[in-house]
Amino acid sequence: MTAALPPETPPRDRARAASQPLQPLSWAGWAAAVATIATLTRQPVYLLLLLASIGAVRWRCVQEPEKHSLSSLRLGLLLFASTALANWAMVRAGTTELFALPTWIPLLGGAWTLEALAYGALNGLALAALLVGFSLLHQVVAVRALLRLTPRAYYPVAVVLSIAVTFVPTTLLQLQQIREAQAVRGHRLRGVRSWLPLIVPLLEGGLERSLQLAEAMVARGFASPAAPHARRAQGLALAGFASLVVGWLLQLAIGTLWWTSLPMVGGGAALLIGLWHAGRQHPYTVYRPHPWQRRDWIVLAGALLAAGAYLLPVFDRSTLFYSPYPTLTGPALDWRIGLATAGLLFPALLLETR
């Protein structure tokens, strides 16, 4: 019986708790902070700090290397190089001319400048940070756990997704079997027309199984009760969205005054209430709960700290929008923003997987 549990947690349990993975939601918050920073800033120092933080987390938290031949690191490097080169080759702006091609060459002719190369490299850094950061999310959080992040308001979508993710391996296996069966009959793949003997059995078989699945679901009591307040939630979300858009356009056109941010705040609140309302109609229970630990809160707080330093007008935000044009100069730096980027390092400090 559970009543006989000792008051303190035994050391073995504590060890198990330490090896338990972080909440998927705190990892999602971490990834959202990475996306926010990489989308906002083009300042080289901040971007390098961001990449360094991602690299440290990756080094500490990812145990097995990736299975793909093209790992995300290599892909990030490729993306960085190609973005820098593309901008260098295509943009004719800036004053520091490195060399010039004759102007009669279409696209490539003209002065190739240091500024264009620098700007391309900065964009490449941001893209690489996005790519590496999100591939890391995929390596540390299981697919099922990611699926469970689907908000409750999207319950039908979540069911469809979990069916799909479950059926992908079966479908691949079935495709292999159909190919072998057709190959035995002398079928060879030549041209688009020869896909027909593969696609049609795959589709027929899949749809047949979906019929069986539907019957099994109904037999086990799966039924969506007619949601009584779905329309209200829908209307609330729509109104919130409209108000959000109007608020943003007002801010763009007039500027940030106290009353122009009202529609945005109100719209965001209406949207969240609408989604919460829609989600309340789908109660669910968790079979194996994954409790929040102190580490999860710390990681989430670190991500919030980092994203907040870039988003809120507390520090010198003008340093974020560095542009190398028209003449390359050293970027302005606010060291407090740089320091706050280290909030992304918390997963590396807390997890002892290596």
Partner: protein
């Protein structure tokens, strides 16, 4: 009221979605109007990304109400699985360029089952395959939105096909071979057209990273025409070849496989039409037993 809300949702999300996708074109114009908006414009990349996500979420909340029955959910789940598997199995033809077989099912399922199912199939195919292969990222809302639009717009082929078929009444009965050919040609051209448009739309996500609105801000006199021209050059150089391959692949796949796939989908549409109606006489707890749901088969 009910249909009004649906119509407003579709209309508003389409307008805002298109405007948000096209923001690299109109934002520099707006930013030139005053200095203060220029400061705001720097934040716009993030704001637009958030806006696209919210826009998609609002549309999805509306569309998902078409997937309430167990049949629809199971059908969608299996179709998404087939599509995601097709995306990564090297079935044949080492796909040149942006060639991808996923659009065949999205277009045809949208055409047969309706725009809502097409939207869900398109959006969830990309989400599921991103989950399976590790392609989740900030680009995902854009991909899901665009692939959803492909399926959502597929029923627009129906009136066009009916119109064209009415134009050639001499072809005979409703399902004479000539009429089927009209259907195939329209669907194949539609899929090919979306193959191009999908690439151009996805480039819009990438473009601010590549050349960027920030590069335009400091130039005082850059006009809308200039911006569009730059985008066209960028597009032709970096991705037109890739997208042409996708368009051609879509056209050929729908042209050669479309008839058979539509036939299968139509047959199952009839079979899926069964409705489970609990018998009130059996609903008392003493006699509760699983009622067969297979009457309609």
């Amino acid at each position: 009221m009910k249909n009004g809300l649906t119509a407003v949702t579709y209309g508003l999300t389409s307008v805002v979605g298109v405007a948000a996708f096209l923001y690299p074109f109109w934002l520099p114009q707006l930013a030139q109007s005053s200095d203060q908006t220029l400061a705001r414009a720097n934040d716009s990349a993030l704001m637009v990304a958030v806006l696209v996500g919210i826009c998609f979420a609002v549309l999805l909340l509306e569309v998902q109400q078409q997937a309430v029955s167990a049949q629809t959910i199971a059908l969608l789940g299996v179709l998404v699985a087939i599509n995601a598997a097709l995306r990564f199995a090297e079935v044949a033809l080492p796909g040149p360029g942006g060639f991808s077989p996923i659009f065949v099912l999205i277009v045809l399922a949208g055409y047969v089952f309706g725009g809502g199912i097409g939207f869900l199939l398109g959006a969830l195919t990309l989400l599921a395959s991103a989950l399976v292969t590790g392609g989740v990222g900030p680009w995902l809302p854009y991909q899901m939105f665009t692939a959803g639009w492909v399926g959502l717009s597929a029923p627009l082929c129906r009136p066009l096909i009916r119109l064209l078929q009415a134009c050639w009444p001499e072809a005979g009965g409703a399902w004479s071979p000539a009429h089927k050919e009209v259907e195939l040609w329209v669907l194949a051209l539609f899929a090919g057209y979306w193959g191009l448009l999908f690439g151009a739309t996805m480039n819009l996500w990438f473009w601010p990273f590549a050349v960027g609105p920030a590069q335009m801000h400091w130039q005082p006199g850059v006009s809308l025409g200039d911006t569009v021209q730059r985008y066209l050059v960028f597009y032709v150089v970096t991705s037109l070849g890739w997208d042409l391959m996708r368009a051609l692949g879509n056209f050929l796949l729908v042209f050669f496989l479309g008839a058979a796939v539509v036939r299968v989908l139509r047959r199952f549409q009839r079979r899926f039409a069964f409705v489970y109606q609990p018998n009130p006489a059996l609903a008392s707890p003493a006699q509760a037993r699983p009622a067969g749901a297979a009457e309609g088969r």
